[in-house]
């Protein structure tokens, strides 16, 4: 029979102001198995913990109940305390009489009665607790980084700096991501390529970093320390080992196509590298448009290649590798603003987006750094920027603020003026959100020094009058409706999750929110972790982030990943699901409902019939102890250690036993 000690905390006056803690302790003395009960001002304090340990010795206690705050705050504290008292740490239960009682009630008498019931439940449970042991799993010392933008690049560099191996899987033919498309970066106006390419080169040259470009993650199984990942290496039709990027092939390729990298403002060939600084500097053949692949004509690239690197027969290859941790750095995509018919996108060539404008600003871009009207290629002098296109719009767009549009619009307005001091910049905004180091100053400079006209209000309509774009908006500060005839309109479209984000989330067993953005384990205290141990988030796949924030989360995620990898073995929480194979009928409903992919099929030999049969098996390192399998199991073959059916039944019985026999 367990000898239970109950310790009721005042939490200063947090609890004691509403709950009669002395009475709770007094009544707890009468609960079955309780040998000692007392109250104390701060149980979590050192004297409080000493008291517990002293009483364990004095009264020979074998189980501890602390009635205090939420277990999410101090369960760990008291488990350790229990362990230090010489008991199994899982011989401890916490009764939450603060968050679930004193803080939410004001009737002292009723609250005290409720607190008594909460303590009663905890004592009933702790009496049936089993001693649980922490187990350990080995760690594969390699990190998978999904996405090769600035986020993935920085993460890889940091992982490598810590002496661990990293693998970047990038979907596009080159790493670099969105940042490679930018001209300059705010607020310092550094050239984006100048600060990005050294990092790209570093990644390429590092012995510890492996690049899989033009590749995609296809399947993820396993668990922290031991992820098994299948990666599809799409056929480039160019042998990476032979090609030295001389460029003969793409110079001679006869097929001209709109360049995705240049936002279709420029052209590329059917065999191409997306941009001059691409890493690796190896072209890919666009199989959809290649004349040889489609019509068996041409074949020029193969003929002219001095290194015989062209291989039309190359096929997709699926490789499998093992990783200890995964960093998700898949970034974002742009909101499709064609839903705003009033902005005339698609109808008017001169209505573009920030990314188009960015390419135009770039001196190595399709216009050679000239700001032109896509309609006729003439210089654009009057440019209207519209912010919050798809952001902060619950009706048709995303409810959130995309966070960087204010800044890049200011930057673009500034650069417009630098390119052509005669040009005029008008910015329609709702609020200016320039919360960053030197950001506010930057926006002020743009207005004050560069004379960009900021108009507070949304644009209602863009239409054409006498061959010019008319932008009709409102300046709410002056209370006037405003019409501006513009050469060019630049929409600051919202940053949104990639369309296949959910697929990846399900593959990795990480949650995502209603906007398909990946959810961190805790918004404040675990901002780069996910609920799946060993999977970390960085960059805009989690929420819109600018470059400094992205780089910061990349470093944070890599530190977390390296932290895991620095252990030879990882401890796992023993409060997880357990399958009783004697009862399991192998229907694997549990496997279907497990959000963490922690259940797999296992073949066993039945003890009684001596025949082989399938049963469910829990991977301890993946299980989070959520209990979904528990409820899906019809015969009740799955139990959750720390929350066993016996414990829960014990709790229910403790509450119903004395409440009269209503049968």
């Amino acid at each position: 029979m367990a000898r239970i000690g109950v310790f009721v905390c005042h939490c200063g006056t947090n609890i004691s102001a509403t709950v009669d803690v002395k009475k709770v302790a007094e009544i707890a003395k009468g609960f079955p198995g309780v040998k000692f009960a007392t109250d104390y001002r701060y149980m979590c304090s050192e004297p409080g913990q000493d008291l517990i340990q002293k009483m364990v010795k004095e009264h020979n206690l074998t189980r501890i109940v602390v009635a205090a705050c939420s277990p999410s705050l101090h369960e760990k504290t008291f488990r350790t305390c229990t362990q230090n008292a010489g008991l199994n740490p899982y011989f401890f239960e916490m009764a939450n009489i603060r968050e679930q009682c004193s803080w939410v009630h004001d009737d002292r008498e009723e609250a005290t009665l409720k607190a008594i019931d909460i303590v009663k439940l905890a004592t009933a449970k702790v009496g049936k607790n089993n001693p649980l042991q922490t187990t350990f799993i080995p760690v594969e010392k390699k990190v998978l980084i999904i996405g090769g933008g600035i986020s993935g690049i920085q993460a890889a560099i940091d992982v490598a700096f810590n002496g661990f191996k990293a693998v970047i899987v990038e979907r596009e033919p080159s790493i670099g991501g969105r940042m490679a498309m930018f001209d300059k970066t705010f607020p310092t106006l550094d050239c984006a390529a100048c600060i990005l390419t050294p990092k790209m080169v570093e990644v390429n040259q590092s012995d510890l970093i492996k690049l899989y470009t033009y590749s995609e993650v296809e399947e993820v199984s396993g668990y922290v320390g031991n992820f098994k990942v299948k990666i599809r290496r799409k056929a480039r039709l160019v042998d990476e080992n032979k090609c030295n990027g001389c460029g003969t092939c793409w110079q001679r390729c006869p097929v001209r196509l709109p360049s995705e990298f240049d936002m279709n403002l420029g052209k590329r060939k059917a065999i191409y590298v997306p941009f001059p600084q691409a890493v690796p500097n190896v072209p890919v053949i666009d199989q959809k448009h290649c004349l040889y692949i489609n019509k068996k004509k041409c074949g020029i690239c193969k003929k002219v290649c001095p290194f015989e690197a062209i291989d039309y027969e190359q096929e997709d290859e699926v490789i499998e590798e093992q990783f200890g941790a995964i960093i998700v750095a898949t970034g974002f995509t742009m909101f499709d603003h064609s839903i705003y018919g009033e902005y005339g996108y698609g109808k008017y060539k001169n209505v573009t987006t920030g990314l188009h404008f960015e390419r135009m600003l770039n001196s190595s871009g399709p216009t050679g750094g000239k700001i032109v009207r896509p309609s006729d290629g003439k210089e654009a002098k009057k440019v209207v920027f519209i912010q919050c296109v798809g952001s902060r719009d619950e009706a048709r767009g995303m409810p959130y603020c995309s966070r960087l549009c204010c800044m890049y619009t200011a930057k673009q307005a500034l650069l417009l003026k630098e390119h052509n001091p005669e040009a005029e910049a008008y910015v329609f905004y709702i609020d200016i959100r320039a919360a960053g180091k030197n950001y506010e100053e930057f926006v002020e400079r743009v207005q004050d020094e560069y004379g960009a006209t900021y108009l507070r209000g949304r644009v209602s309509k863009i239409f054409q009058r006498n061959g010019r774009l008319m932008v009709r908006g409102c300046d709410t500060l002056s209370g006037t409706q405003i019409e501006i005839d513009a050469d060019l309109v630049v929409l600051a479209t919202a940053l949104i999750a990639r369309p296949d984000a959910i697929k990846l989330a399900q593959m990795l067993h990480i949650p995502y929110d209603q906007n398909r953005l990946f959810t961190e384990a805790h918004p404040k205290l675990a901002p780069v972790e996910t609920v799946t141990t060993g999977v970390f988030l960085t960059g805009a796949c989690q929420s819109p982030k600018d470059i400094p924030d992205t780089v910061a989360t990349a470093s944070a995620a890599s530190v977390k990943a390296c932290g895991l990898l620095s252990h030879e073995k990882l401890p796992i929480d023993p409060q997880i699901a357990r399958v009783d194979v004697e009862i399991c009928s192998g229907c694997l409903a549990c496997k279907e409902v497990c959000p963490f992919g922690a259940i797999e099929k296992e073949e066993i030999v039945d003890r009684v019939t001596q025949q082989k049969r399938w049963v469910a098996k829990v991977a301890p390192s993946l299980c989070n102890g959520c209990g979904a399998c528990n409820t899906a199991c019809r015969p009740g073959a799955i139990d959750l250690d720390g929350f066993t059916e016996e414990q829960i039944f014990g709790q229910i019985e403790s509450l119903t036993a004395d409440k009269g026999n209503e049968r």
Partner: protein
């Protein structure tokens, strides 16, 4: 049809495609049938087929090892599909000799309730199909539209009335577990009703225990029951169990547009999660 059936069964045994065939044979007093297990070609003549072949033989699939042939009606094939979905049988070791079935009758010769709204007179999955030459239709096809008409009377009752109705039914239950034992989908090696630590369901035939048992069983079959109606047929105290399962089937069809036993590739909705699942019930 019988000739065809025996011929196909013989071939399967002869070619060693199966080791045993589960089928129907005449029972001792000849007016009914009983399940039989045939292991040799000369036993094939015992096979029979008429309107008394009510049994859902897929029940035996799990316990018969090795390569097995099974004589199955449309409704029985649905349970084979469900068993495949739930990892219980390996399709590769099973040969389905499917029979076109117009309707089955009860001991009094009345057409069974489930057959009146049957939608699978010709089974949806098979290796061999035995069809009748004439295809005489005993059933007005229109009736299949009224699949849930059996529920109308109950659904018209108020909640307390319905509760009273079921309490009266469950009171009769003697806990012989024939419903469970005859159900092809009640395959758990240990039933939740047998669990003693803790005890979820009171084991004795008290009203409380009976109610829990019958309702828990209905919940465990929700989204899985293929409506073979065997539980109701075998119940010695005539509890209308099919209505319970049918109601679950209807709710799930309305909510998830899913009918069990039709597609072995589909996931049953209660072990599947999708973002667009209806969630009104937790609001």
């Amino acid at each position: 049809m019988l000739e065809q059936l025996r011929k196909k069964a013989k071939e399967l045994l002869k070619n060693k495609e199966v080791e045993v065939i589960i089928g129907y044979q005449k029972s001792n007093n000849n007016s009914f049938t009983t399940p039989c297990f045939i292991e040799s070609e000369d036993g094939v003549d015992r096979l029979t087929w008429d309107e008394h072949c009510v049994y859902n033989l897929s029940l035996y699939l799990k316990e018969v090892k090795g390569k097995v042939g099974i004589v199955a009606k449309g409704c029985d094939v649905k349970s084979i599909v469900a068993l495949m979905q739930e990892n219980q049988i390996d399709r590769d070791r099973i040969k389905i000799i499917a029979l076109e079935c117009q309707a089955q009758v009860d001991q009094e010769g009345q057409i069974l309730e489930k057959c009146r709204t049957c939608q699978v007179h010709i089974p949806g999955m098979y290796d061999e199909l035995v069809r009748s030459k004439t295809s005489p239709s005993k059933i007005e096809s229109k009736e299949s539209d009224k699949e849930y008409s059996v529920l109308e009377e109950l659904e018209a009752k108020s909640t307390p009335e319905r509760w009273q109705f079921w309490q009266r039914q469950f009171e009769k239950c003697i806990r012989c577990y024939a419903c469970r034992q005859v159900c092809p989908l009640c395959y758990c090696s240990e039933c939740i009703s047998e669990k003693t630590a803790p005890q979820w369901i009171l084991p004795s035939p008290s009203l409380k225990g009976n109610t829990t048992w019958n309702i828990v069983r209905a919940f465990h079959l929700a989204g899985r029951c293929i409506d073979c109606g065997e539980c109701e047929r075998v119940c010695p105290v005539n509890i209308p169990l099919r209505r319970l399962n049918k109601k679950m089937e209807k709710e799930i069809q309305t909510m998830f547009n899913y009918v069990p036993g039709l597609d072995s590739k589909k996931k049953p909705p209660l072990v599947d999660f999708r973002v667009d699942d209806p969630q009104e019930f937790i609001r």
